[in-house]
């Protein structure tokens, strides 16, 4: 398995992580049901407004799922940033991962590696983390 994602989406996620720093940023990329294609990016508000935690607001979450259903889409990617640690799922990320079909993307904008960033993708299923390749298309 690997994640295929456009350069434009990578740039949007990186930019969002920088503009919301030091808080974690978050969002999703949607695609037509069954396609597995990351085609529509939707930035979400981190209701926790925290550098160590993110959570979609419960009302936004319901609207998101309604929208996804109405448009015959699915959540292909769930992304968030780590602002002080590497782009690897934390224990809480693993504990709360509730979408077995999604690619969990982590971007790290921590200072030590600036201006570089880390952009990595994982499957998180039943508590098991599997890193996957990221192919960035132009």
């Amino acid at each position: 398995m690997s994640l295929i994602i456009s350069r434009a989406f990578v740039d949007v996620i990186v930019e969002q992580s920088r503009s919301e720093y030091p808080d974690e940023c978050c969002g999703v990329i949607l695609g037509p049901v069954g396609s597995g294609k990351a085609s529509r990016l939707k930035a979400m508000v981190n209701a926790a407004h925290s550098p160590t935690f993110y959570e979609f607001d419960p009302k936004d979450l319901l609207s998101l799922y309604r929208e996804v259903d109405e448009q015959d889409e699915e959540i292909v990617v769930i992304y968030h940033s780590h602002t002080e640690t590497e782009a690897y799922p934390s224990r809480t990320d693993i504990a709360y991962a509730g979408e077995p079909g999604a690619h969990y993307v982590l971007v790290s904008s921590r200072k030590e590696i600036a201006p570089a960033i880390e952009f990595r993708s994982y499957r998180i299923i039943d508590g098991v983390v599997t890193e996957e390749e990221v192919s960035i298309t132009d």
Partner: protein
């Protein structure tokens, strides 16, 4: 009395992959008890020590049950209940 309950992907192994199921109950507690009797084990994924799990969101129609009295929230015929895992992490 029949309430439509929308089931998230992660809980569909309990419902034989059904996206929506019918259940009954005049309160959220009663509804969860009814769901668990139809789909054994699902109750445990919604409750912890008798309270709603922190990272499970349940909505009656458009409202988060946390604003409707939690497990005591009233449910009436024709309501629709949606269960969604929080999207959250650290």
């Amino acid at each position: 009395m029949s309430i439509e309950v929308r089931i998230p992907t992660i809980l569909r192994p309990f419902t034989k992959d059904q996206k929506a199921v019918a259940a009954s109950g005049a309160s959220l507690t009663a509804l969860i008890t009814n769901l668990d009797s139809q789909f054994p084990g699902i109750g445990d994924r919604l409750l912890e020590n008798g309270a709603l799990r922190r990272f499970i969101n349940i909505y009656i129609n458009d409202e988060d049950v946390r604003f409707l009295g939690g497990l005591d929230a009233h449910i009436k015929d024709g309501d629709s209940v949606t269960i969604l895992p929080a999207v959250a992490g650290g």
